[in-house]
């Protein structure tokens, strides 16, 4: 298959998946460099969509194309994707530097150069000097920044954020969202971010997908979705 020269980073075509009683079906396209919020009530299938793209779940049908390559049968580690989960991003028994180093070599065999790369990524996340700490000695926000540092050294073009900041207090959450939205254009990342809180988004012209009952039912700029919600599900979600 020749490399797709369009600028589509994520393409989901007729992907179906069953979870317990719910059948989900997703179709969507996200351009390279886009930052897209994924909204919807809990249990709607937001996390499942991200899991399908990341390769943790396998579609019953349909195809997922990432950076121009079809992904059927490709293991999660071999996809151009890094996922940040809500929790459990770090191994509790490994140091901060080791946790980040896993992103360069999953067996932790690093050379001098790569150790420097780890320190640099930590530095960039404002975590300089914490290399030898264990995760339990860090705050919740710091832990998620370590995970972000690892996604930097992994250097994958797509970043999937599955509510990684949901457990933080509102101020921290906003800080982290800002950090990611600054980082994304700098690194040319394509980002999908699941969120419950619309308030934490600074740029209201950002694109958002609204998912309900295993389907994308609304798609557009946040401003438009909020001012003129097209579906009744979205209206009730927003509390209109």
């Amino acid at each position: 298959m020749p490399r797709d020269r369009t600028t589509t980073a994520i393409r989901v075509d007729g992907v179906t998946f069953r979870y317990e009683e719910m059948t989900m079906r997703f179709d969507l396209k996200i351009a390279e460099g886009d930052f897209v919020m994924v909204l919807g009530p809990s249990g709607a299938g937001k996390s499942t969509l991200l899991s399908l793209i990341a390769g943790f779940d396998r579609p019953l049908d349909g195809t997922i194309t990432l950076m121009g390559q079809e992904m059927t049968g490709v293991a999660p580690a071999d996809r151009p994707v890094t996922t940040l989960f809500q929790e459990g991003n770090l191994f509790p028994h490994l140091t901060v530097a080791q946790n980040v180093g896993l992103g360069i070599h999953p067996g932790l065999k690093l050379n001098k150069n790569q150790h420097a790369q780890v320190s640099q990524a930590l530095d960039q996340m404002g975590l300089a000097g914490l290399e030898t700490r264990l995760p339990r000695a860090l705050s919740g926000g710091e832990r998620q920044r370590v995970a972000l540092a690892r996604s930097l050294v992994r250097n994958r073009p797509i970043l999937l954020l599955d509510e990684p900041f949901a457990a933080l207090d509102p101020g921290r959450r906003r800080e982290m969202t800002d950090l990611v939205s600054d980082l994304a254009p700098e690194r040319g990342l394509t980002v999908m971010m699941v969120s419950h809180q619309l308030e934490e988004v600074r740029d209201r012209s950002m694109r958002a997908l609204f998912i309900h009952d295993g389907q994308v039912v609304a798609d557009g700029a946040i401003n438009d979705l909020v001012s003129s919600p097209t579906s009744s599900e979205l209206r009730s979600y927003l509390g209109h």
């Binding site: 049968g73 490709v74 999660p76 071999d78 151009p80 459990g88 999953p106």
Partner: protein
């Protein structure tokens, strides 16, 4: 990513499915192969002699009747005694020595059976404490520990404490609101029992009784030593006699078949009907209840607690005192005893390691099925196969392997290897039960991270599983090694001179009434058992996971 990379990655993901299924598949194959080989060995050997209907043999049915009778009575008495003892423990959450008593109740669960039997003999045997005491009081009649009563006493010693601890955790499942209601309405002790405690007991007790029935149904060492004659045998003992004394393979097969069918039936009943027995053994304090303070209640609880402690402590004390006064230096300078100890250590360590490796393999595939493929029923089925070895009579396995090996070589020379194989299989359910919850937790929390980072199985074990799971691994290894080290089962088939293990030596000293020497061997057995367990716990388990 280039096309060839994707092709490579696809191939790797396909091999991921094989890698996920492989360990569990191998273990199941190994277990099935082992059972198949020994059953085929038995069938072939049994077909050599034909023309006799084994099922009309009255001996067979007499043994079955006795097995069921003693197992039912043992289960019934154990649970009946455990109810008031557990109730007293539940009603008195804070007396001095309570936690010590609860620990003491845990001792019979890990005590090698043959050592417990020795304690019984010292306490109740012909020249035991009880009979000497009675004689001192002027009674002339002797109490005979051999026979049904001896078997029942020994089974109660081993299983009453077990039932007590399980029932006690049943008490903690009673919602605290019920105790508040009881206080509010001023229930008396009888009302509390009828309205609050009995409904819980009725749900939990049948499952506990069922497990004890199974344990006593397959009892070997106790019945062999204390049975006191041919009619008093369990199926397991009769299998042993059929091979060792009569070489009657058809009878052996019939006995084994009966045992498998009945055990499987009881297991199925337990799985489908009984509420799962709480296994966490959490021993939280019970909320305040209105019937604690009465003098009568205190006296009643005191009586049952003392009785519970006596049942466990009396045989242990008898053992201890006989050890101290026994011919310690004579026995410990016997070369044969140390040779047997070394053999036991080798058998225990090898069997324990195999149990843990097999359990790990089985559970890795179970976790892979549950977490990666969402097939929870398949994972459950795999976990359950581990306990199938509780249904397969170890002596049948040993006999089958013996008969197969007989055609190739001298089976007595390979006796210890057969013992290792059978003990490893018997240890598997314990390894699985200990490893399953923590392995499931690690898989749930970190499997996606491991997948996303693309760790290979070796890195995964080195960096994730080993540091996070070495404590439960150490516990599983320590327990299976200790169980196998102290086991007196299949070794009875092969234990001659060059292949004697320490429990075998102990059995022979009891059999020849050299009780003092037996007590010293028993002390050595316990001492080594504790030492090995502690070394494994420190060495493998480490201090903390950094």
């Amino acid at each position: 990513m280039a096309n060839s990379d994707v092709a490579l990655a696809t191939a790797r993901s396909k091999s991921g499915a094989i890698g996920g299924l492989l360990p569990g598949g191998l273990v199941i194959g190994l277990l099935a192969g082992l059972v198949a080989v020994s059953v085929v060995g038995l069938l072939l050997a049994a077909s050599e002699r034909t023309g006799r209907s084994i099922w009309t043999d009255p001996y067979l049915w007499a043994v079955l009747r006795f097995t069921i009778l003693q197992a039912s009575l043992s289960a019934l008495i154990s649970v009946a005694l455990a109810i008031p003892v557990a109730r007293a423990l539940a009603r008195r959450p804070d007396f001095f020595g309570r936690s010590l008593l609860v620990r003491i109740l845990g001792v019979p669960m890990v005590l090698p059976t043959i050592v417990g039997v020795l304690g019984m003999v010292i306490l109740l045997g012909r020249n035991g404490w009880l009979n000497q005491g009675l004689e001192g009081l002027g009674f002339s009649g002797q109490i005979n520990v051999y026979g049904l009563s001896g078997i029942l006493i020994a089974h109660v010693f081993f299983n009453m404490p077990f039932a007590t601890r399980l029932l006690l955790s049943g008490w903690t499942t009673i919602p605290s609101e019920h105790w508040r209601l009881a206080s509010q309405f001023g229930f008396n002790s009888g009302q509390i029992f009828r309205l609050i405690e009995w409904p819980m007991i009725r749900e939990v007790a049948p499952g506990i009784a069922g497990v004890i029935f199974l344990l006593c149904f397959t009892s070997f060492a106790i019945v062999l030593t204390l049975g006191g004659g041919p009619p008093n045998a369990t199926l397991e003992v009769a299998i042993y006699q059929a091979l060792r004394f009569d070489f009657d393979l058809q009878r052996l097969l019939a006995l084994a078949l009966l045992q498998v069918v009945i055990c499987a039936g009881v297991m199925a009943m337990l799985t489908f009907w009984a509420r799962p027995v709480a296994t966490d053994m959490a021993l939280h304090a019970i909320h305040d209840r209105p019937d604690r303070v009465r003098v009568l209640a205190r006296a009643v609880d005191g009586f049952w607690l003392a009785l519970g402690a006596l049942i466990v402590l009396a045989p242990l004390a008898a053992l201890g005192s006989r050890f101290v006064t026994g011919p310690i230096f004579k026995v410990l300078s016997e070369e044969a005893v140390w040779a047997a100890a070394v053999r036991s250590l080798a058998v225990g360590l090898t069997a324990g390691c195999i149990s843990v490796v097999l359990g790990w393999g089985l559970l890795s595939t179970a976790r892979w099925l549950a977490v990666r493929r969402g097939k929870l029923w398949a994972a459950r089925a795999l976990e359950t196969t581990a306990s199938l070895s509780l249904v397969t009579p170890p002596l049948m396995l040993g006999a089958g392997l013996f008969l197969v090996l007989r055609t190739f070589t001298d089976p007595f020379a390979l006796g210890l290897i057969i013992v290792v194989v059978v003990n490893a299989m018997m240890g598997l359910p314990f390894a699985v039960r200990i490893l399953n919850p923590p392995m499931a937790q690690v898989a749930r929390r970190y499997d996606r991270l491991v997948q996303g980072l693309g760790m290979n199985p070796i890195d995964r074990f080195r960096l994730v599983d080993w540091p996070l799971l070495r404590r439960p691994l150490a516990l599983a290894l320590g327990l299976t090694v200790a169980l196998s080290f102290g086991d007196f089962g299949v070794i009875a088939l092969f234990g001659t001179g060059q292949t004697e293990t320490l429990p075998m030596v102990l059995y022979q000293r009891i059999g020849t009434y050299r009780i003092g020497e037996a007590a010293v061997v028993g002390g050595l057995l316990i001492g080594l058992c504790i030492t090995v367990f502690a070394i494994i716990d420190r060495g493998v388990g480490g201090r903390a996971t950094r």
